[in-house]
């Protein structure tokens, strides 16, 4: 008799793990999430402690030691990843480049996140005309070719780091708006929102303390995806020579500079591109992982 008792699904549900335990189990059972977070953590560490980790000044030119190959292609340990066409240490430029990429990704995602979330939540919460206007704006934004518009505006305003960040931030809010609108619509109809309104909570209060916490998981996923998007776009703009300007060590710019030497020194293109790929891959893996572990359908 006892065997049939303990196998009972109802009993298991009652004595099962707590939500926190289950979340922990899912997080540590998700390879992609762990790998992504690990790689991102390392790159973040490198970016923060760049001055301590870089063996050389990333801007210091040395005409005597130009285009030295990396150590695995017969170079010296003085410049483990070689030097570029101006004799600057490649490793140091890569390390400082992590700062540029992560900063652009984080701040651009922050700006677009604030814009897109405000629009999406307003549309989802108020509905009606507000929703119509926001949906229309999303349509307009999607119709504008991002690369082209960003290139044109950055070219006209001048390609400083700040300009690139602000332009990307102002362009990439569409996915935030779409996802936040849908999430808010879903949450708005729930009983606890109605309950909060019934006890007389003000609109800002309902949004901040009832809606926001319940759509936060979706927001975090979009933040990671848009961060990756912004990093890739900055690299593309800089590669086209119309983004971040030299001598700033941007990975996209490094690929662009290496392109001229590609015939003889393909590593000059391969190394910065590979690091860029790795960073974006790590962020995407983390985003996908977060979506998997927080998805409501996984909560069984």
């Amino acid at each position: 008799m006892a065997t049939t008792e303990t196998n009972d699904p109802l009993l298991q549900e009652i004595t099962g793990p707590t939500p926190a335990q289950m979340l922990r189990k899912r997080v540590f059972g998700h390879q992609g999430l762990l790998i992504g977070a690990g790689v991102l953590g390392v790159l973040l560490f490198v970016a923060i402690f760049a001055p301590l980790l870089a063996p050389h000044d990333p801007y210091a030119q040395s005409l005597m030691s130009r285009m030295e190959p990396p150590v695995f292609l017969g170079g010296s340990w003085e410049h483990p990843l070689g030097t570029d066409h101006l004799g600057r240490d490649y490793l140091s430029r890569l390390i400082y480049g992590a700062r540029v990429s992560l900063m652009i990704g984080a701040i651009a995602a922050l700006i677009s996140g604030v814009i897109g979330t405000a629009m999406g939540v307003a549309a989802g919460y108020f509905g009606g005309r507000v929703d119509m206007v926001v949906t229309f704006l999303i349509n307009v934004r999607l119709a504008m070719p991002v690369v082209l518009v960003a290139l044109a505006v950055v070219a006209i305003l001048g390609g400083s780091l700040q300009v690139v960040i602000v332009v990307l931030g102002l362009l990439l809010w569409d996915r935030f708006a779409v996802v936040m609108r849908a999430s808010t619509l879903q949450v708005r109809g729930r009983e606890y929102v109605a309950a909060a309104r019934a006890i007389g909570a003000s609109t800002p209060r309902v949004i901040l303390s009832e809606i926001m916490p319940n759509i936060a998981n979706n927001l975090i996923v979009v933040v990671t995806l848009e961060m990756a998007h912004a990093i890739l776009l900055e690299a593309a703009l800089s590669f086209l020579g119309l983004g971040v300007q030299p001598p700033t060590p941007s990975w996209g710019l490094m690929v662009s500079e290496g392109k001229n030497m590609m015939l003889f020194e393909p590593w000059m293109v391969l190394i910065p591109g590979a690091v860029l790929f790795l960073l974006v891959l790590a962020i995407n893996l983390m985003g996908d992982g977060l979506r998997d572990v927080t998805a409501p359908e996984n909560r069984s």
Partner: protein
């Protein structure tokens, strides 16, 4: 159905006008066209003269309406650099970009749909994991870097393909792959998800109960339903791809509209840039419109409503 198309068309037109206004304003606020036109060595008086001559001193709204009125008639003004009508410049370059776009989306569909179907038939199998890996890696791959790697391998090392230019079909192979892979992950994921959902539905069991073969079940009964959202995604991706062709065209030196945009931005050729932004937007608007109509036509539930 007709009401739906009419509504959708109305929206497309309003969006098109709004985009044209924003792109005009953006460039109007951002730069001084007179200075750009006069060149770097011009004096202040020269610039003033040019400003008057071209009417840049008029209020912005007047200039916009003026520009728009000509634009709807196909006249986008004259390129500052080429001294030629912008419209003929763009038309001349569009064939390369359109060829590239069509090849790209075809490549993406031909690889992503079979992969997505295969992954859905055997979830968690080797092929499913491989497809997932490809889509995750594909999303993270910077397209300019991917293009350069292809050039290093296939043009420089192996010498199989020409590295740049557009004079033969061979020239389009690498650009097609680079542009197409951009749309692949999304199409593959949607195909996989759609097939998984459809394959677990009751009407698939009905088809099997009728004695239909596995191939017939998969392609005639399942894929026909799962492909509906993929079609509209592909059209949207096509719109995005044309806008993204600027990177690919610059890597492979394909002299299409994207390349023209890149050159014109670098040369401060504002009328050309303005016109190109509008043209690429129109492509997106037209493609998404067609996607919605096609979607409604493919889905009997929407067709008859």
């Amino acid at each position: 159905m007709l009401i739906f198309i009419a509504k959708r068309l109305g929206l497309a037109i309003v969006v098109a006008f709004t985009v044209s206004f924003i792109s005009f304003t953006l460039l109007f606020l951002a730069g001084d066209p007179a200075a750009a036109l006069a060149g770097e060595t011009a004096s202040g008086e020269d610039i003033e003269a040019i400003r008057k001559l071209y009417g840049f001193d008029r209020p912005m709204l007047v200039q916009y309406l003026d520009w728009l009125l000509s634009a709807v008639q196909g006249d986008f003004g004259e390129s500052y650099y080429f001294r030629l009508p912008v419209s003929s410049l763009i038309v001349e370059r569009l064939s390369v970009t359109m060829t590239l776009g069509v090849c790209g989306i075809t490549f993406a569909l031909l690889t992503a749909v079979p992969l997505g179907v295969a992954a859905a038939i055997r979830p968690n199998s080797l092929i499913d994991r491989m497809a997932l890996f490809l889509s995750v890696a594909g999303q993270a791959m910077p397209s300019f870097w991917f293009g350069l790697i292809l050039i290093v391998i296939f043009a420089i090392q192996l010498g199989w393909l020409p590295p740049s230019g557009a004079s033969s079909p061979m020239h389009f192979i690498m650009p097609t792959i680079v542009l197409g892979y951009y749309a692949m992950p999304a199409i593959m994921r949607l195909t996989r998800a759609g097939m998984l959902e459809v394959l677990s539905s009751e009407y698939i069991r009905t088809a099997r109960a009728k004695g239909a073969s596995e191939g017939r079940v998969l392609f005639r009964h399942a894929l026909r339903n799962a492909i509906i959202p993929v079609v509209s995604l592909a059209a949207v991706q096509m719109g995005f791809m044309l806008g993204g062709s600027i990177v690919v065209e610059s890597i492979f030196a394909l002299h299409g509209a994207g390349y023209l945009a890149w050159e014109s931005i670098a040369r401060n050729d504002l009328p050309t840039v303005q016109a190109l932004i509008l043209v690429f937007s129109m492509f997106y608007i037209v493609f998404t419109f067609l996607a919605d109509v096609l979607n409604a036509w493919l889905d009997p539930r929407m067709r008859s409503s």
